[in-house]
Amino acid sequence: MKYAKIIKPLTLMMFFCLVAVFIIYRTGGLNKYILKKEAAMQTSPNGGTLKTAKLDSLLKLRKSIPPKKKHILYSSKSAIMVDESQIIPDSLEKSYRLTPYRRHYDSTQIFYPLRQRKLMPDTTKKDTLKIKKP
């Protein structure tokens, strides 16, 4: 009986503490202790992540474009611990690199113009910004 009296409050305390830790982690509160290279969630209103890793210039340029990744409410079955931001932008980009014209099949603009320009095959061969207008 005494044993149960100790175990029950301890279990409850541990449960609520771990839930709190999870929430703090997901809101980015533990970034400075856990992650060294990038924030676990977007911290600026335009969606940029904190970057401290050394990247090559192309990657820097790519990352300087605000990624249009959004936070998503999960359904009951998928509280994912991993940060999806590390999956989504790359997979999206890979897909659009493979099929650069896919954006045309509806009228919606999917990428920002700078990114679009980078994905168009002709602009990879010549710099359209340098072409003088007649």
Binding site: T11, M14, L18, K69, L73, S75, K77, S91, L92
Partner: protein, 278 residues
């Protein structure tokens, strides 16, 4: 580290974390006292958990991101400007209210409409409820559910970063309501979902009620709130359903006639083998 190694590490950390959070609770406050941690079909549910981390979550999020970009172009800028002119707290309340409303009705439809039930019954096929069973879900069902929950935010152009704590809380609480825990929370259960309510949703009857996951307010509003004092006798579905991961992934997407034909062929193959061996 490669992408696969990163995903494996994330899955391993997640499993350890979820074990730490839920197993002590299930042991100390069990809803079904006789239920073991390694109960029947726990490997199947583990496959679902790993499948989500390693295969499906990326695909689901890709589709949803694509959908949200599409919505960005579809919703008139004037409407977005009107939404943004409101205080942030009001936008947040609107997003959460409409999310709950949509998922409530979307969930009711999943139980009513046969086409949606095809996918949703994967989640209901679990005969034992615990934190691991919460992960049993068909990826197309995930797209539908997560899409509906996020639709108000997509339409309004609301950045869910502002609600990061609520988003995280909802995520882990959704696993909690599936866990084998019975912890009465008194009048709070009218505001926040609890396992005792959601377990009744998983009753063997297809339309048992309690369709709202997080807050039972919608169930109260629309008359589907159910809360008997005891646990349901049996979880699961009344229909025949495969017991393997591949079978459960394929059954909802394969036409009924083809599934029957495949079943007959498999049975014929088995009987031929038995005849040969005898």
């Amino acid at each position: 580290m490669t992408r696969i190694a990163e995903l494996l590490l994330a899955a391993a950390i997640s499993i350890i974390f979820l074990l730490l959070v839920f197993v002590p609770m299930e042991k100390v406050f069990p809803a079904k006292k006789g239920q073991k941690i390694f109960r029947r079909h726990w490997v199947l549910d583990l496959c679902y958990l790993l499948g989500q981390y390693l295969l499906w979550s990326g695909l689901v999020l890709w589709v949803l991101n694509y959908f949200s970009f599409w919505m960005d172009g579809l919703v008139p800028a004037k409407f977005r400007a009107l939404v943004k002119s409101q205080p942030v707290w009001l936008q947040a309340v609107e997003v959460l209210f409409f999310s709950d409303l949509l998922i409530y009705w979307g969930h009711r439809l999943q139980h009513k409409v046969d086409f949606l039930w095809r996918f949703h019954k994967v989640h209901h096929s679990s005969e034992h409820l615990d934190w691991l069973a919460a992960h049993r879900e068909h990826p197309l069902d995930s797209i539908y559910t997560i899409g509906l929950i996020n639709l108000p935010a997509f339409v309004m152009g609301f950045q869910l970063e502002a609600l990061a704590a609520i988003v995280a809380f909802r995520g882990i609480w959704d696993i909690y309501i599936h866990s084998n825990v019975r912890l009465p929370i008194g009048p709070l259960k009218m505001l926040i979902g609890s396992p005792e309510l959601h377990h009744w949703h998983h009753d063997i009857e297809r339309d048992a009620g309690n369709y709202a996951n997080i807050s039972p307010i919608m169930d109260k509003l629309f008359g589907t709130y159910v809360c008997p004092p005891q646990e349901p006798e049996q979880y699961g579905i009344k229909e025949d359903f495969p017991k393997t991961y591949v079978g459960q992934m394929l059954k909802p997407v394969v036409p009924g006639w083809l599934w029957k034909k495949l079943g007959e062929k498999r049975k014929a193959g088995t009987s031929t083998k038995i005849e040969i061996s005898s």
